[in-house]
Subunit: 207 residues, 2 copies
């Protein structure tokens, strides 16, 4: 088989997740297992398992005998995800501070510069996520990091949904401020900036 040590269900799950995040599949769309199975050249059993993963990530909702639909999102949900991210990323950063090395900070700065050169939302989002992951991973709390990652993908959905056209590369002042505070050893300052920064992803007007 052409499998690369990855289960088919996982591959389908990731592919669908990317589409949902990118907005290719509209919220509320019914995901029909047979159609998806046919498209990926698989049967619908792995498709079902992929649905469960999407459900766990909050990207889809499944009603008992009525199928699976792409999760919609309201303004309240955007706010909810933002607040959860703020709380958890601050927690992660506080635990990461003692383990942050200069090498990590340098790499984060480089990633940040790359983000400023990004020409579209997708690549900017990618560097943005990399930046956050870089400075948070040293906390060594896998469950926390996974939860944050799921929230980040949810944020990405919101980001891609509305400001695709009028998007422009933000200078990421917040990232710079966080790095500066971390280099100065002021973890609390970095945490408070991070909390504000995450609050409304992409809402430059509130900065």
């Amino acid at each position: 088989m052409t499998s690369k040590d990855e289960t088919i269900a996982a591959r389908i799950s990731r592919a669908l997740a990317e589409r949902i995040i990118a907005g290719t599949i509209a919220p509320g769309t019914r995901l029909r297992q047979d159609h998806v199975a046919a498209e990926f050249g698989a049967s619908h059993v792995p498709v079902r398992e992929a649905f469960r993963r999407l459900e766990a990530q909050g990207l889809a909702i499944s009603e008992p005998r009525r199928g699976v639909r792409v999760a919609g999102f309201s303004l309240d949900e955007i706010r909810e995800v933002a607040e959860m991210r703020a709380a958890l990323e601050v927690l992660a950063l506080r635990n990461a501070v003692p383990h942050l090395t200069k090498a990590v900070l340098d790499e984060a700065e480089e990633v940040n510069r790359a983000g400023e050169r990004a020409k579209d939302v997708e690549s900017w989002e990618d560097t943005n996520r990399t930046f956050h992951r870089l400075i948070l991973t040293p906390c060594g709390m896998p469950r926390l990091l996974k939860t944050i990652d799921d929230l980040h993908t949810a944020s990405a959905r919101f980001l891609f949904s509305g400001w695709r056209a009028e998007w422009e590369a933000p200078t990421d002042r917040d990232h710079k401020a966080i790095l500066a505070a971390l280099r100065a050893g002021d973890g609390e300052m970095a945490a408070s900036v991070l909390a504000r920064h995450v609050q409304w992803p992409g809402h430059k007007g509130r900065k």
Copy 2:
């Protein structure tokens, strides 16, 4: 059929979760889908979906071609879950305060009293969870509440694992303090007590 509008996969998932939490199945145990399927009188397809849910909850870990095992837990993980709960429950409580009614607080007080009369860890845990859910649900943030709920089940695992024998009904002073602060309208005080309260579940020695 005896189905109560609940999918077989969901029923199996809940049954297994209860056993894992209760410690009936030891951490590291390999969950064999055929055995589980036979026990529940089902085939292994819904069992697989149940495994995915357990995996999402952090109760089991699945390695690509090597099966599913009950997740183990270290002291670091206990600490991690506790800190996540502290951060998220505080967030939920802050958002719930404006919507808290006297009726809810009265009910919470009643539940708390019932908890003090509990004779075993299981029933105490049940009332404990009910208490937390009662005062947090009014925040109206479904995703946050679900995440907290998953963390709570993880906490329950830890709680059941060690102190089963020498357990005694705690007077739940913290719960009372939280209720008192809420009745006085002091949401911040309630939040800070809650944060401390959640930090190390069951570790009375650190109070």
